[in-house]
Amino acid sequence: MQERRESIITSWIPGPILDRKRRIVVAVLSVMAIVFLGLSFMFPYWKVTLKAPQYPQGLHVYVYLNRVEGDTFEVDLLNHYIGMKKLEEAAKLERSLALYIVTLISLFTLFFVFSGKKVMSLFAIPALIFPIGFLLDLFYWLYRFGHDLDPHAPIRFKPFTPTLIGEGKIGQFATIGTLGLGFYLAMISFILVVIALILRFTVCNACPYKEKCSLVCPHLFLWPPRQHQEEKR
């Protein structure tokens, strides 16, 4: 049975194949990257703590990929005094698409494992730009919220941008913006993809078939027949 299977594989991929383990590592790292990215859904990407004397526990807002949680009711209530929009209004489109975007990135990352040398970077790029993209989008919304103030609000405020990372001040509130576990998981995913990409480059550079490289690399999951390994030795 086993012999028969191996003979089929041998007939399909002639010649020795280099660094089987390296390619397995690439696959494992990529799958892990997807898992971490998926997990990041469960944790906040960004959180902001507002501190004021009458809130001894502080007010906490947690921004997830697809939702905003925490003391949003109270923060909205306070924000209405300066005419700021409700948190629910922020990044509506991004939040509604978040699941699709992450699914797409995951699929691309998966393709990256199979793809040929010429296109593999292309498939890795979405996973790589995702965390930066998130931060840029968040900054955009912070800017808009701080500048799009209702002119009829009880308290008039000079337009401002709430601090993304680190300490800021809005009225009597000290604000502390920090990145959350969700973002760190996305960063881990990012690092895993970077490592995987480097590994893939080394594999492909040494690949005896690199001249005949196509869109999909057929060598990844096909175990080299035992006899070839023996030949190598």
Partner: protein, 669 residues
């Protein structure tokens, strides 16, 4: 290959390190600093004339900002008809709960339909003006499970009108007031049975049944009767269920304090009595006054009541229904073995069951002893039908010497007893103005240490009841007692002829009792107090849902919610659904015509702790307290034409003054 393996492991290593770093930075904690005595402490003590004992007392009672008290006392508010919530050991007043008396801050009885209905249920059953707006609150009782405080409910009586109130300790608000049928005065209330099956209410001044049935005093012995009510408590609903409650008819003695048996005496209740002479006074006609007439005999009767048996008798239907409540007639109580008497030193006050339920401590106010009865001996005497006789109403009287366990001489005027966790009892001694500590007998203490006076501490002055931490439960905590003194005389800066009462905190942990703190009570004469470990209470910080009705303790269907605010007119009725949030009401303008009925539903849609809004309408005697999440309804007739601002009566925010609106009442043409 090894190199790649390392790289892979290295990559994983980075992942793990990053995650760990993330977790640990969040959990770093700063070490708390231990306090050191400041250099100036001694100078301060000298300048303020504080003795070393004073300094020790101060250190034992001071609770710094942000720290909490270890115990919570629920004190009767006396004449105020309210309940005081006090922290121990700081003796700080935390809250005054409106119970029988309208309380404006809490919007209790100032327009809200919910509180109005609760108060109305406690009005008099007869008369043209049935309103009652005060109460003589005496004895609070915490709900119990297996004889120990469970921190769920609180009960208190109104001696002046024979009423019982139920307070829910989730929101510290009064939920129910019951005007007890047939009775017009009580004193042996409130005391709960070990699982809060019943709230016991013993009557005080005998009257016909019901009290509204007139009978002249000449027919006192024939027509007047004592009564004890067992109010059935439905713990799930948090309400007294009068359909399951019952009363027992008693001879026309003046029943006094009661206590429920526990553990081995479970199923029994004990009440003492005075005026077994059945004196009715007549000082104006030259007859001996009641105080003399009621003190002629050396002994009064301790009432021993088998409430478990009474329950069976009620179930068997051997009752009369009077004023809508089941009453066990006196002869039935005697024939069914529900009621027995034991002679007790005259004019007793406290009757207190020891933690194991084995001893019953009675103190006669004019005696120098506390008298301790053994429950076992009582049971044996009842079983053996060993009676010394019967009272004029046929109630069997047990022989004093058969059932008494011990008498401890503690001083003149013993009153009320509480217990600690080390086998000691503490009795307030009224005439002497002391608290006496004495030992219980076996099994609390070995025989040679049993029934001995240990120590007395002077208190200031005229102590009534006392309370020790969980001191009337099956597991007292010891630690603190508080002497509830009737007179304060020279203890406080004079504030006019009406002096505050004096609560004195006593540390009972040491070899010697130590007086720690005097707390003036300037609101009424509190009689009794319950002291519970603070961590047994878990009150809500805000109402659990927006649109919560505290009267039903559930989310209301009619509660206005954000976005659903509206004003509707139907004929002469204008109904308003309003929300309140910092810093506005919505709607802000209500226009009605003179004579219109106005129905206002208001919800405080806040979720922040302490974000309470008031709602007052000028000129209409309306003020509500809307705590976060709470909904309330007000109904009134706009009978006064003109312009009536309404506004938030809690300083809720910087724009609090702006949280207002107008009620415009257009005059009739």
């Amino acid at each position: 290959m090894g190199k790649w393996k390392k790289l892979g492991i290295g990559g994983l290593g980075i992942v793990v390190t990053l995650s760990l770093l993330f977790f640990f930075t969040g959990t770093l904690q700063t070490k708390s600093q231990q306090g050191k005595l400041p250099k100036g402490a001694e100078e301060i003590a000298r300048a303020r004339g504080l003795s070393p004992q004073d300094i020790e007392a101060a250190l034992k009672t001071y609770v710094p900002t942000g720290k909490y008290d270890e115990y919570i006392m629920f004190s009767s508010g006396g004449h105020s008809g309210q309940i005081l919530v006090i922290g121990v050991p700081s003796m700080r007043l935390l809250k005054v709960i409106g119970v029988f008396t309208p309380e404006p801050w809490q919007g209790f009885g100032f327009g809200s339909k919910e509180s109005g209905d609760i108060l109305k249920a406690g009005y008099m059953p007869v008369g043209k003006d049935r309103t009652l707006t005060w109460a003589d609150t005496h004895h609070p009782a915490l709900s119990e499970t297996n004889g120990d405080y469970d921190g769920q409910y609180l009960f208190i009586n109104d001696k002046a009108n024979s009423r019982i109130a139920v307070i829910d300790l989730r929101d510290f608000e009064t939920k129910q007031i019951v005007k007890t049928p047939n009775m017009i005065s009580d004193h042996g209330a409130t005391f709960v049975t070990p699982n809060t099956e019943y709230v016991i209410e013993g009557g005080q001044y005998a009257a016909p049944i019901p009290f509204s049935n007139y009978a002249p005093l000449e027919e006192y012995k024939e027509k007047y009767r004592g009564l004890i009510t067992f109010h059935a408590f439905d713990r799930k609903k948090g309400r007294i269920d009068e359909s399951r409650s019952f009363q027992i008819e008693l001879p026309p003695y003046w029943q006094d304090l009661c206590d429920a048996g526990k553990k081995e005496s479970y199923g029994w209740a004990f009440c003492n009595s005075l005026n077994t002479e059945m004196a009715t006074g007549g000082i104006e006609e030259g007859k001996p006054p009641i105080e003399a007439g009621a003190s002629q005999r050396d002994m009064d009767y301790l009432h021993v009541i088998n409430w478990k048996k009474a329950e069976e008798v009620v179930r068997a239907g051997k009752v009369k229904e009077i004023s809508g409540i089941k009453v066990i007639p006196l002869e039935t109580a005697v024939s069914e073995g529900i009621l027995y008497f034991i002679p007790e030193p005259k004019s007793p006050h406290g009757v207190d069951v020891a933690p194991r339920g084995d001893y019953i401590v009675v103190s006669g106010k004019l005696d120098t002893h506390t008298t301790i009865y053994s429950f076992k001996k009582i049971q044996n005497a009842i079983k053996a039908k060993n009676f010394e006789g019967k009272d004029p109403y046929g109630v069997p009287i047990l022989n004093f010497n058969d059932v008494v366990e011990a008498q401890v001489e503690i001083g003149l005027g013993p009153l009320h007893t509480q217990f600690d966790d080390k086998g000691n009892a503490y009795t307030s001694v009224f005439i002497e103005s002391t608290i006496a500590k004495w030992t219980l007998g076996e099994p609390y203490n070995p025989k040679e240490k049993a029934w001995k006076l240990v120590e007395k501490i002077p208190v200031h002055y005229n102590v009534g009841h006392l309370v020790c931490a969980e001191g009337d439960t099956v597991s007292p905590d010891g630690k603190y007692c508080v002497s509830l003194n009737k007179w304060s005389i020279d203890r406080f800066t004079p504030v006019g002829p009406l002096h505050p009462q004096n609560f004195q905190l006593i540390d009972i942990t040491g070899e010697k009792m130590q007086l720690l703190y005097d707390m003036p009570i300037g609101i009424g004469e509190p009689h009794y107090v319950q002291m519970i470990k603070a961590d047994k209470l878990s009150p809500w910080l805000v109402y659990p849902e927006v649109g919560f009705n505290p009267a039903t303790m559930s989310k209301s269907d009619t509660a206005p919610l954000p976005g659903k605010e509206k004003i509707e007119r139907k004929g002469d009725t204008v109904e308003v659904w309003m929300t309140a949030i910092r810093s506005h009401f919505n709607p802000e303008r209500i226009k009605v015509k003179e004579g219109d009925k106005v129905v206002l539903h208001i919800t405080n849609i806040e979720r922040a702790r302490d974000a309470t809004h008031g709602f007052a309408i000028d000129g209409y005697n309306i003020n509500l307290s809307l705590e976060p999440g709470e909904t309330s309804t007000v109904e009134f007739v706009a009978d006064k034409p003109g312009v009536y601002p309404f506004y938030c009566t809690e300083f809720c925010s910087a724009l609090h003054l702006e949280m207002a609106g107008y009620l415009l009442v257009e005059p009739k043409k």
